[in-house]
Amino acid sequence: MGDPSERAGAAHTLDAQASVAWMRRFARTTPGVVGMIAIAVAACCLIAGVVCVAQLNGRIAERNAVLDRSEPLTYAAQNLYAALSAADAAAASAFLSSEIETGPMRKRYQQALADAASALADATAGATDADTRTAMAEISAQLSAYTGLVESARANNRQGFPVGSGYLREASSLMQTAVLPGAERIYIRHLAAVDEDQRAVGSTPGAGLVLLALVLATIGVGSVLVYARTNRQFNVGLVVATAAALLAIAWIVVATRLAAGHIEHSRTEGTARFGQLAKARILAEQARTDETLQLIEHGDIVAGEASFNGHIGDLGKLIGTGPSAAADGVAKWTASHRKQVEAYLGGDYPAAVAQAIGTDPGGSAAQFAAVESSLRDGIEHTRATLRDRVSTASARLAWSPTGTLVLMVVAAAAAVVGLWPRLKEFL
């Protein structure tokens, strides 16, 4: 007690109390009121401006998320599925055609593996969540086990050992029951992420608009108080600030509405269509697997036929509205498949194999390739639409953050500059 610093502290407190009391008295005077209005309006303008900029920049960042991450990942994931399925089909065809070592089948198998490796790298790039990376690592590990089994099958086949077919069946089972379902899950997850990111681009920046409304309310209340104190109806500064805030609101509303329109198109003509075509491609691959498995199993085909017809039926429904080349191809493919089944049930196994995997342009292999490539073209096309629309949507937003910030800084400055003469009258 009684040491100098305590006394100094007490003096500080007294000083502070005195200055607070002075501030209170000053606030009740006209210059005090006018000064506080100027500060409140300017502060509101700046806060609203900064929040709007942050929200609009968020929309633009979502656009980058769609174009740089979720959309390319989805595209890579569906390519991965197609490449893996093509590798399995090529291995099965090579087995059926007795072209074990050489020939176009082997090349196609190697090409499909290279495509799968590329798609795997593309689909892993930028995957930040642990689930997706784990799923990718699983596919990677399974794929190396798969190729090992296919090579074991090949080595045994070359020596005429039936155990080769055992290895091939094991490989195909690994592909059909583990690898492909895993790839399909990744693709479905990515597609959902694209849709979510797209919706985020087109959403209205609610908090920013509420704050802008608050700016208008503050200016309104300020104008009434200034009129009451100074008897002047219009303050040019506050009028300019009002105009700037209204302009900012109009800009944001129009820009986000336009963006939302483009996003809606990108979702219906892009994402939804992309999803349908990718689903169709997967169904086509599954039907092709059914077709070759029937021949490899070389037994009762009732279950295999039911599965084939189910996949083709779903495929037909999906591409009913799609590229006519695909629908046409499916009809021809189904016709060729009927011939294969006829030959098989008629006991002519070699003819059935030839119909399924032969190089005849009317055969199932050629027709399946036609369906597959037209679906792939369709996917490329909708992909371009999706990206264009998202890009256009974000172009509508491009200048809105800068514009809003400039307008709100102008509004804040106008309020201060406009009220300064009223304040000066008392100083």
Partner: protein, 320 residues
């Protein structure tokens, strides 16, 4: 005073902020891939076996054989002749008896040769035949549903099976034995204790292994080549079934051998739908002929020479 407190607080805040230990992002870990043949499963419940008792090798006595192309009117053979081809259920994964030749895409083996002899007896042409692959566990249902006319597929005659389908006379006899890696120390059924053993669903080998005391860990798969795949992948220690099937597997891998004494004798017959007794008699007539005219011996020499010298065709026994 205040300034000093403020500065102290700022310094404190600046330095403590960096002190939290930063946890690295969790690295991805996946389990090694242990691929198995589709449908491979451990056998934990006893396979269904009836306790039927019968003279399993006795079949129906052949009637006078009609000549090819002249099947008696209204008989099952006439219906097959009408159709234009004989439909036979066979195997495509058993070396020596029925397997797909990878270089020709054709099914071949001792069983398939026998089936062709029956087609020859009906049509005078061994190629008027449709070979359909049936799994071991589908053999009875394929006959009962009429999917195939005959099953010629290392088909052991048992009393339980005879309640569902009819069998021809015996055309081959085999012993159930064990296939294991050379130097594995497995040389008898007793040494299978505590080991993992593979067999095919729906075969007679599976219940025989299940009945062993103590029972080994048993895996069921769809075909015998799947068992060899599992053995080569180190997922089982041994395979046990008929010696001829095991020899076919051993021929594909120099590191394995057939070991041990017989666990039981298996008599192979041709499976036929129970109602078609005329076809049973006809098939027995064909088997009678190929035993007598040296065809059996010729087929044995062509396909099964690797099993050792021919024991000669097994004698047929008839019940009426």
């Amino acid at each position: 005073m205040r300034t000093r407190i403020l500065v102290a607080l700022l310094i404190f805040a600046t330095f403590t902020a960096g002190c939290g230990s930063s946890t690295p992002p969790t690295p991805v870990t996946v389990a090694p891939i242990d691929a198995r043949p589709a449908g491979a499963q451990e056998v934990t419940t006893a396979p269904v076996t009836g306790s039927a008792d019968c003279d399993r090798e006795a079949s129906l006595r052949p009637a006078p054989q009609p000549s090819p192309g002249a099947m008696p009117h209204g008989s099952t053979m006439a219906a097959i002749a009408e159709r234009g081809r004989l439909v036979v259920g066979v195997d495509q994964n058993t070396n020596l008896f029925g397997s797909l030749n990878p270089s020709t895409g054709q099914l071949e083996g001792f069983d398939i040769d026998i089936a062709r002899e029956i087609a020859r007896a009906i049509f005078g042409d061994p190629d008027r035949i449709e070979l359909q692959v049936v799994n071991a566990s589908q053999r009875e249902s394929a006959l009962q549903s009429g999917q195939v006319d005959l099953v010629v597929r290392t088909y052991s005659i048992t009393c339980e099976r005879k309640q569902k389908v009819a069998f021809s006379s015996v055309y081959f006899k085999a012993d159930q034995r064990i296939l294991a890696l050379k130097g594995s120390g497995i040389d008898s059924a007793a040494r299978l204790s505590g080991k993992r053993v593979c067999a095919v669903w729906g075969t007679t080998s599976l219940p025989a292994l299940f009945a062993l005391k103590p029972r080994p860990t048993l895996f069921g798969v769809a075909s015998w080549t799947d068992c060899l795949v599992m053995l080569q992948q180190g997922q089982v220690d041994a395979i046990s079934t008929d010696d001829v099937v095991l020899s076919g597997l051993a021929a594909q891998d120099p590191t394995v051998e057939v070991v041990g004494a017989s666990l039981g004798i298996e008599a192979y017959g041709i499976g036929i739908k129970k109602e078609n007794s005329d076809l049973v008699r006809f098939v027995n007539g064909v088997l009678e002929r190929i035993r007598d005219d040296g065809t059996w011996q010729r087929l044995y020499d062509a396909r099964l020479r690797s099993l050792g010298p021919s024991p000669g065709p097994p004698a047929a026994r008839y019940e009426d």
